[in-house]
Symmetry: C2
Subunit: 738 residues, 2 copies
């Protein structure tokens, strides 16, 4: 499909460059030819979403707290135990087809069952329908089918109810109403890569330092890490405890360490690997006298996503911030995007939403976004907000649309429309009499971790996300051609947006106020709704300017102390063109953590705290996570607002490049797109860009008319110049930064 | 609870009999004392419905057709993988509590977790809350807790989403909105009786006859049976096939037998038991020359329900019919009530509904009714009719109310109200513009197996079941104190009932016509709606009389050829007081099967067919099931309409006894109630009754005023006499049958 799109897009290529076109066409032809004439690629397939839910259950239930299993507090779903898979093939010659199945199964050719559960069948030449029906209560029903042309892939159709009944004469029912979905898949491309056996890869890592005292050993791995502890040549008889610490203090303070392993040793000498991976930098091992081991190492566990995007600049501290953000992001990416690696290891929609955005500028891995989206959504019926949090339900909608915008993957969005719709109808069912979202009993109105933050009444921040979610529904309804739905959602969105300003906008305060309680807007101002309104582009220029001074740069408005909301605060300032400010803030805030020795970014950082105070949260001495995905936002900010690259059409069919130095001498980097990287170098007087995709619009602020080796600029006024960017060209532009 | 009820009911006992009262009170006191002072009974518990769904998945996926796995074609659901169990205990002294769990788990005392997954905890004296949270993806999360007083039973509360989040200070959320349900349970009363390991019991049974020819052996077990074939001292090398036959013809006709086992033998001498139980009377074993075995026996697999009800009469053929019906019923009762034992082995709502009714007059096992009801309902969202069949969804509602009426188990009904409501809202969402139920694409309108039966338009039969289902919803809504719902359902029921007569009643034909197509009632008359309208009591006496002659006794109306609908036809005639006719019909129809050698009753019986024609169905030579639950209806008819016992208040708090000899010289038998059996003997001039329960009304037809050793009759006119029956008395009544 991608190859076809590529080919199609080539057809509209600038016809002046005929030779190059011919050459590329030839490549495309061979690629296309390859897909039909050579052996197809088979992969394990399942009912879409089911493996993702199953795997997320496995992953989320790995959380422990001081040795105790600590599961989630929301509903987790289960896979459909009985699935029918089918596809129609048209073969020019008969072929042998191997069948591998996770579960009990039957195979039908043109509706007639083979005896037993065949491992190989022969499919005759001509047009034939193959059905495989699988029951598996314990694991997700999955199949791997491999012939020369008959192979399992996402073009197979699946259902959990085929409704194939017969009448008293044996005639089969009309099953035209059965809802068939395209099969789900990942990367299990060999028959022996059974989906249920999947484990993240690991690699051995040595400790940096190890200090032995009487009966304990403190081992330092030099930086925050994640994986399985390994005790080499462990032997003897007695007890051994491993206390994990993200900080030295935590590892040593055994009465308060958040995680530990306790082992009863009774064995001759042998290597021992703990059964559950953990997050730590330090481990403190306390063993009975009769127990000994040679050394300690670990198996680093990781998701193996490749970096595609990059960023470098003239400021080494910022470069360091970018590197630590990258490491934080990778540590927090497992089978899914999780929040933090020590304490939680759960999938949180608000956290994941930020990981998606960072992903688009670093690893651009569609799979992890799709898996996380499906796992978060779970199954119908919807019985509570996602993660029980109202805002987290709303971020979920935004995440689906962003995915479409960055990836261009309309199939995924289309296949998810029903799930979006039923989730939105749950949300619509929880509006108050004013049509606003107000926390009902059992709804967690989260917003942010902030002392004394009011959740009373209808909070403006939630209405903002609600309006955006409804806009998203309207866009997606349009995309899947549900015109009536699109209309309804559009009207609903407009209504909420109107109320947002009618009710919450305070002209005196030049701000959206925090909430609406007992029929009255409060006069309390917080940053949340105001900063989102800016980058949602819901405001007039005048309102934006008002908010900037009255809220964002106003020290009387309670400051934000989590990287989570700093993400959006910085984004709002970037959207206002205040990259210089953001550079300073990044260096102060993220740089502040680095100065305290952080090797990954934290769940919360309040510069006013000191020493081990920084490690406390939730009323626990080491309750804070020192590696939290939401700490990695510089990845996104530097890609989207410094390199300045963002898609405006699905999958970068169109996009904008608006570089901003933010007070730096130069910046350079890559932004991944589905077709490859957009590359950029920008100094105060020179800009180099190349792009493999779509049609871009360069927006450049310059003291003078810029000049380019190719194409020409249009002056838009106010020192803003624009130029069209075509794919495959290398632009070298002279300009003069403001 | 039962004991308390018993005690309470004793308090209202006839105060004249003081000595007996004192004695019984003393017994009741000791029983009550026993429940609190001695060790409580612990049992394995789970989320209600989850184990039932899980187990039904296991059972229903045991169907095979000629060696091929043959699963259901509707959605099957799955258990919630993560469950929180809790209960508050108030202990006078601390106690040790043992904990057994199916799954990964934690244990909390008053919100504080124990380290790890403890197998024993100490609960201090005083009031304490115990939570156990279990994750199990593969099997149903289940716990067994046993202390002196702290024991797991259905008084524990369970949820799949406890919503126990914390704020940034560690404070736990208000979880008052979490929906807690009473735990589900069965009879797993020992820690080692793990629910997931449950298997039906078996016992060895020898063959009756065995005939060896060259390389095959035909073994006859003398009657229809079910279980695992056992080959004694099987040895050698080669292939062996076991062809199962409900008839001799089927076992021998190896190209068409519905089920078989094929074994590759390569072993020294040893007993071999097949892995999957099967239904058969005959087995035909064909083995390679190199394979031998000494003899063949079987392990009979059964549900182990005890007979409580009974029936005997002066007619030996009817007694034989009753015995074969009993055997048919037991064979068709496994973990759940299934339809037939050879081919299907699935749970079908329409079939199960009849099994429920038979059960109330024979085994009166609440567990199998509840399990079957839960398994059929599955989980939300409802995506199709139960078993995909419109009528089967509607029978399900009727079954819940009958269960309440016969068992008095209000808890079960209360706990199921939400499931009833969401299923009904699915049904209501499928009405046509006239507010009637008409098959939409994907809906199977079944009614009965009958050649050429029209399913076009809105069929009257479905509206009848629809009206009754809505009445049921109104009654249950009332029971659970949902007054507004009750009102809505009552109005809906009245509306459908009105339409039923406005549209379908044909005064000329004196019948409800079959259907309403293209805005016009057809003039086609079938028996279905007419016979249901009689025992639903929807008709005037005049209408009833009209239907009796114009439909039920009219040979021009297509006859019914399945015991399934014969059930209701006979019930309608019984409700009209035509037991004499029904006796003749039973002897002709069920007796007809016996004359053909039936050892269990069939799925379909058409006296016009002959020889092996009887075995064919669904276009297959042996497609018919020769042991089908719906064939056992004499159990119900003889109990309800001959012995004449039926509850009018929940759990026989009130009931009617209206014996009818149906032309027989005498009848006698027992009808089970929650408190024991109502026993009855009736000849043409003598009636003996005793009852352990409620307050009964005896309705007796007699040529003269009957006389009783206790109580007195009131003449209601038309030779009908009534007398109140009190529990615990032995009535001996002289009368003169009409």
């Amino acid at each position: 499909m991608n190859r076809l799109l590529f080919y199609a897009s080539l057809m509209s290529f600038n016809t002046k460059r005929r030779i190059r076109f011919f050459f590329l066409s030839l490549i495309a032809f061979f690629m296309l030819w390859g897909t039909t004439a050579f052996a197809q690629k088979a992969t394990w397939i399942w009912y879409p979403g089911d493996y993702e839910i199953w795997l997320s259950n496995q992953m989320q239930n790995r959380r422990t707290e001081r040795g105790t299993f600590f599961p989630v507090f929301w509903k987790i779903d289960n896979h459909y135990p009985l699935i029918d898979f089918h596809k129609v093939f048209d073969l020019s010659a008969p072929e042998e087809v191997d069948i591998f199945v996770e579960g009990q199964y039957n195979v039908k050719l043109d509706g007639k069952a083979f005896e037993g559960s065949p491992k190989t069948i022969t499919v005759p030449a001509g047009k034939h329908k193959i059905n495989i029906k699988v029951f598996n209560q314990q694991q997700v029903p999955a199949i791997f089918v491999k012939g020369a042309h008959v192979v399992s892939d996402s073009s197979w159709l699946v259902t959990y109810e085929d409704k194939e009944w017969i009448d008293e004469t044996g005639k089969t029912s009309d099953v035209s109403t059965t809802k068939w979905m395209n099969a789900g898949f990942w990367h299990f491309d060999r028959p022996d890569q059974r989906p249920a056996d999947f484990k993240l890869p690991t690699k051995p890592v040595e400790a940096v330092e190890s200090k032995q005292t009487a009966n304990s050993r403190l081992v330092d791995f030099g930086k925050e890490t994640f994986g399985y502890m390994k005790l080499h040549q462990l032997k003897g008889k007695g007890k051994l405890a491993i206390y994990y610490g993200e900080s030295r203090e935590e590892a040593l303070d055994t009465a308060y360490t958040e995680t530990f392993d306790k082992i009863v040793v009774d064995q001759p000498s042998g290597d021992y690997v703990v059964s559950l991976s953990k997050a730590f930098r330090f481990v403190n091992i306390i063993a009975d006298a009769g127990v000994s081991y040679e050394k300690v190492s670990m198996l680093y566990e990781y998701a193996d996503l490749q970096d595609k995007g990059s960023f470098r600049c003239s400021d080494e501290e910022l470069n360091k911030i970018y590197e630590v953000a990258k490491y934080t992001f990778h540590l927090s990416t497992k089978e899914f995007f999780i929040d933090g690696i020590k304490r939680d290891r759960w999938i949180w929609s608000g956290d994941a939403y930020q990981s998606y955005l960072m992903n688009y500028y670093l690893t651009n891995d569609n799979g992890t976004v799709k898996r996380t989206t499906l796992a978060l959504r779970g199954k119908d019926p919807v019985t509570s907000h996602i993660n029980t949090i109202m805002d987290y339900t709303l971020y979920w909608f935004l995440g689906v649309y962003d995915y479409y915008l960055y990836s261009g993957d309309a199939d995924f969005v289309r296949n998810n429309y029903d799930r979006m719709k039923s989730l939105m109808s749950y949300v619509l069912g929880r509006r108050n009499k004013d049509g606003l979202l107000e926390g009902l009993p059992g709804d967690w109105v989260f917003i942010d971790w902030a002392e004394g933050l009011s959740k009373q009444g209808a909070v403006s921040f939630e209405q903002l996300l609600f309006a955006r979610s409804l806009e998203t529904m309207a866009l997606v309804a349009q995309l899947v051609n549900e015109k009536q739905d699109a209309l309804v959602y559009k009207e609903l969105a407009a209504d909420v947006k109107k109320k947002l300003f009618d009710i919450y906008w305070n002209d005196q305060k030049k701000a959206i106020v925090h909430s609406y309680v007992n029929g009255q807007p409060t006069d309390h101002v917080t940053r949340y709704a105001n900063m989102f309104a800016i980058f949602f582009d819901y405001l007039t220029d005048e309102q934006k300017a008002g908010i900037k001074d009255a809220v964002l740069l106003n020290n009387d408005v309670p400051p934000i102390t989590t990287p989570y909301m700093r993400f959006y605060e910085m984004e709002a300032m970037c959207a206002l063109g205040e990259q210089d400010y953001v550079t300073r803030e990044m260096k102060a805030y993220w740089g502040g953590m680095l100065k305290l020795g952080a090797t990954s970014f934290w769940e919360e950082y309040n510069p006013k705290k000191s020493g081990a105070e920084h490690y406390a949260m939730y009323g626990r001495k080491y309750g804070k996570s020192l590696c939290h995905a939401w700490g990695a936002s510089p990845l996104y900010l530097l890609g989207k607002y410094y390199l300045g690259v963002k898609p405006t059409g699905a999958g970068y069919s169109s996009y904008i490049v608006a570089p901003a130095l933010g007070g730096l001498k130069w910046i350079e980097g890559k932004v991944p797109t589905p077709a490859g990287n957009i590359e950029l170098y920008c100094s105060t007087n020179n800009l180099k860009i190349s792009s493999p995709v779509g049609r871009g619009k360069l927006v450049l602020k310059s003291k003078k008319m810029p000049s380019s080796n190719d194409g020409s600029f249009v002056h838009k006024g106010n020192n803003v110049y624009e130029m069209e960017l075509e794919k495959g060209k290398n632009y070298d532009i002279k300009y003069q930064a403001l």
